[in-house]
Subunit: 410 residues, 2 copies
């Protein structure tokens, strides 16, 4: 018998009317005799409201109590959805994370799933019940409620699909699938039928926003086939899986981007082996995430070091680096804000050496200056002025023929 | 070392500001070195909001899922309160009902506490933590979240006080204690310093509304000393305990009342031994609660039966009785609505035979007609027209000298 995990995100359960639509999808599958585990996020703005309540109490609320607070959001959705399924005559059971057997470590706010006690859910499945699980949460070994952090409900769904060897894990969201590029930026963005885990991972890390990279990694490791699809239409969605059929092996599969990028350059750093670790320790101590790093040694004793961070982290980073100026021994600092990172992603890229050159040439021909570059086996990222973001996405979408067979608007 | 259980009701934790005031009370006690278990209700209107959400889904939502939904209310309060205590530098731990060891039967919506696993809380107490427990909830033997029904958080608090042999159980609420009569009706109502469990039980059952009778019964059985007091002032409150000092042994301790009472009379019922059980089974099948019952046999073969129910139950009751007219065999039905029940309560009453007569005389002298009477060892109830409610309460308050030593406004 087919076992499917269905996950509905916050916008797909934003109000009772939307929960009703989610229930209809579930019931259609149940009518086909499928065994179903459903994972839900908190309703629309519920989590924001709870965070705001906690914010009234403390600027840094206790992580353990914050988890207990936030976990109520998904608990509310799961009980409402199960209530509705029962009202419609389907047998269902709503479970919190701990009731569903999610055992995690005790990193409150960003807990890692250690194991899923399958007996918790399998009894309900054997009773022919639709199991509705509150996503995003679990319980630590010391018996406290934990939450899984960003992308937590996606991860809950994938983890359940892996534990129960589900035939499929469907991620219902507010977009129709994974696109070659964000349709708000490029008019003829195209929905992909398929994408590999690795490509999806790069797209996810690079800000495509549809699926959290953590959930994709989990799916890749457990070989769980995913489908990303809209909860509001009957479109097919995008399949994320290991082996993608050959005709889809284009060099470039899609574009991703990030806005609000800032580039910091430290000039005249001493060229010692511990310079890099010293600099990035200073930043790590302030919880500042560094993305692209470029080091140029240009004389024997000195080096320039550039890296990108979030625009929002610039004041913190400047303060940290100023405080550590004597220890780090640099001579000057340069900051560029309002930058963006544009990336081309595709697993065919590794065997296609001309791809990066083609990207830079296209940007160059259109007057877009590339300020930094970073590459991996399946992506090339370029840092540019944010003002050039839309034009660069359109240029690259055209140059790499991402519109598909039918090219409109040209 | 003193162990106190403190319970804060919905109005005492209605918003973050009120939670802050509750926290200050808790901290004052913690500063004295007391061990503390705190029980909280849901914030103000939270439960109403959740019930309304469920109401959008079903007129009769699944009780099991409704419990899971409603239990989030107290979970939210307990995490916010513990967060605040920690913010103020006190060590605290928020626990849900199941985390606090509340094992119940599986009567969802009205679960009975079977036992409290003390180890759950005692570890935290040993760690010198203030334990903040979500009231009103527990977990069934099949692992589902249950709620304890009306007065549930009071019951949670008393049950914890009993399990941990607490020195005191303080019930913080929005009134200053237990009054001789509702101060909204009688100007010189007086706050009682002490009241016995049995008197409190009658007051509670008769609608005094301060403490739920179930919690009082629990306290009586476990001999837990209770204090009912305001969370907004430093007034002393009312002590509820077994032995009340002799000077307080007045015949009448206080007045209680209920509004929205209706009286139904079935005329010409056959005078068989199973008539009463048949009638009340018909009503019980529709979940209609019957309060006072009076039967008058006035000929050999027939009897008249009167009883009181809620005004709101009248249409249901009429339908049920009409449907069963042939089976029950009565000849006519009479209905009086807009009645009220007024009661005098006091444990000195049993040894004071003139009390009921004094009550009826006082009402009679003031032109208030008594329509039905019911008595127990420690109370006398009279059903009157609701339009006479305020005047009857004032008359009785004066006649039984409930104002205390100082009589104002006369």
């Amino acid at each position: 018998m087919t076992l499917t995990v269905m996950k509905f995100g916050g916008t797909s359960v934003a109000d009772v009317e939307k929960i009703r639509r989610a229930a209809q999808r579930i019931e259609q599958k149940a009518d086909l005799g499928e065994k179903l585990i459903v994972v839900v996020s908190a309703m629309g703005k519920t989590t924001d409201h709870l965070v705001e309540l906690a914010g009234q109490i403390s600027a840094r609320p206790s992580a353990c109590e914050l988890d207990m607070l936030l976990s109520t959001g998904e608990q509310i959705t799961s009980s409402l959805l199960a209530m509705l399924l029962k009202e419609d005559g389907y047998d269902a059971a709503a479970l919190t994370g701990w009731q569903a057997g999610f055992c995690t470590d005790d990193t409150h706010g960003n807990a890692k799933i250690l194991k899923i006690k399958e007996s918790a859910i399998s009894d309900y499945l054997e009773d022919q019940k639709i199991v509705v699980v509150a996503g995003f949460q679990g319980i630590s070994q010391s018996g406290r409620i934990t939450t899984l952090g960003r992308g937590g409900s996606d991860t809950s769904a994938v983890a359940l699909a892996a534990a129960f060897k589900a035939d499929l894990c469907e991620i219902y969201t507010d977009v129709a699938g994974v696109f070659t590029v964000d349709p708000r930026y490029v008019e003829n963005a195209r929905k992909l039928d398929e994408i590999s885990y690795d490509e999806m991972l790069e797209m996810a890390y690079l800000g495509a926003g549809v699926l959290h990279p953590r959930a994709v990694e989990y799916a890749k490791n457990a070989k769980v086939p995913l489908i990303v699809r809209s909860s509001f239409t009957n479109e097919k969605g995008t399949v994320v899986r290991e082996s993608v059929s050959m005709e889809n092996k284009r060099a470039v599969k899609g574009l991703a981007f990030e806005k609000n990028v800032a580039k910091l350059t430290l000039l005249g750093l001493p060229d010692h082996e511990d310079t890099l670790s010293k600099v990035f320790n200073v930043l790590a101590d302030r919880q500042i995430n560094v993305d692209i790093i470029i080091q140029n040694s240009f004389q024997e004793k000195e080096t320039n070091l550039s890296f990108t961070i979030d625009d929002a982290s610039v004041p913190d980073a400047m303060e940290a680096l100023n405080d550590a100026k004597t220890i780090l021994g640099y001579s000057g600092m340069d900051i560029e804000s309002d930058l963006a990172k544009v990336s081309i992603v595709g697993s065919g890229m590794a065997s296609n050496p001309g791809v990066a050159a083609k990207m830079f040439a296209a940007l160059n021909h259109n007057g877009i200056k590339v300020k930094m570059v970073s590459t991996s086996e399946i992506k090339v990222s370029a840092v540019i002025d944010e003002s050039h973001l839309t034009s660069s996405l359109n240029v690259l979408h055209r140059v790499f023929e991402l519109e598909g067979a039918v090219i409109v608007n040209q």
